[in-house]
């Protein structure tokens, strides 16, 4: 639909701001944290289940583990900082067998390896596993580099 009216409006009616998308984006963000904070058991049970899953693969320090929703520019992220004490040798072997990348995609695991390395180098006191989108991780990486040139 080409709308002559809004076209004329834009030319003669002055340039009024598009506030609709601001409203939509702000609402989406605020509802993520509203829904998470309103349900008191949601974050608690998510935390417990995460610990359960991760503990199958590695020994983590659940007491100093931090987890929560964080706001990064235009998006909400579930950010978890989970110090790893050690990786179970047996589960590492099993994962290597069951998660072996198919020959067609041999480079799949590579970006994650560099991310872990980055996290370790940035925080020498503990190896850190981060749960966040690659986009946010990338953003965080660039920020971190800016902060520590």
């Amino acid at each position: 639909m080409f709308d002559f009216f809004s076209f004329f409006n834009r030319i003669f009616g002055g340039s009024r701001e598009d506030t609709r998308s601001a409203a939509r984006d702000r609402l989406r963000l605020v509802l993520v944290s509203d829904r998470a904070t309103v349900a008191p058991h949601l974050m608690e049970s998510l935390r417990n289940e995460l610990i359960e899953v991760i503990s199958r693969y590695m020994e983590i320090d659940t007491r100093s583990m931090q987890m929560g929703l964080e706001r990064h520019e235009g998006a909400m992220a579930l950010a978890a900082n989970i110090p790893v004490r050690s990786v179970h040798r047996s589960s590492a072997e099993m994962a290597a067998v069951s998660l072996a990348p198919p020959p067609a995609a041999p480079r799949q695991a590579q970006p994650e390896a560099s991310e872990t390395a980055d996290a370790v180098s940035a925080r020498p006191e503990a190896a850190t596993a981060r749960l966040e989108s690659p986009r946010l991780a990338a953003r965080r990486r660039t920020r971190r580099h800016k902060r520590r040139p």
Binding site: M1, F2, D3, F4, F5, S6, F8, N9, R16, E17, D18, T19, R20, S21, A23, R24, R26, L27, R28, V30, L31, D34, R35, V38, A39
Partner: protein
Amino acid sequence: MGKVVVITSGKGGVGKTTCTANLGAGLALGGHSVLLVDGDIGLRNLDLVMGLENRIVFDLVDVVERKCRTFRQALIKDKRFENLHLLPAAQSRDKDAVSPEQMQALCAELKQAFDFVLIDSPAGIEHGFRNAVAGADEAIVVTNPEVSAIRDADRIVGLLEAQEKSNPRLVINRYKQDMARRGQMLSIQDVKEILGIELLGIVPEDEGILSASNKGQPAVMDRASRAGEAYRQIVARLVDPSSPPAGMPASDSWMDRLRRVFTVSVGSSGAH
């Protein structure tokens, strides 16, 4: 046996009472027996919007406290309709004069006698809200295309789901089509996507709503009112879920007529 429908919103001033009055009047015009219950104890207003404020003798609290013989004694019959009654709220009492259990028992009794029992919920999420939803079979959430109203509506939807009042349906009130078109107001699609519940209807902004409440005469009784037309569509959907899905009632401002002249369709993407 009839059903109990609660009209709620979280935020105040979005049009719950107006919506309750119009849906009640619309249902009664369609030949259904209807009882309107003002759930806003201490701040009653449904009587005023309906033009029945001068005839109140007993109220909801009197019924619950058995100060009148039966609930029928407290009902005000609206003489303009075949079968429309109002159970007013107490004005001089507090919201916790009634408990959710008492409301549940009362609603079970009321729906034996009427096709539709519409409860006008107070704003907020506290005691008054819990009372209003306690006996409800269905819920209608009223909101405006405005950030604070939608945030509160989302909270209400969460609370309704927690109380197992499943599938609340949405009425978007005071929608301004031309503002949405200019990108200055959330669109219907935006609100639907954000709240993620079934859309029951859209009521356009209409100055006639103010004159209707000035007179104590719901807009749905006025064939020429745009908001009234929207309420008639919502009533049809309440009665028959298979009636056409919610859409914007035809607009008739001179701006809209002008823009129809200037709008040519060259693609398939509509406004909504």
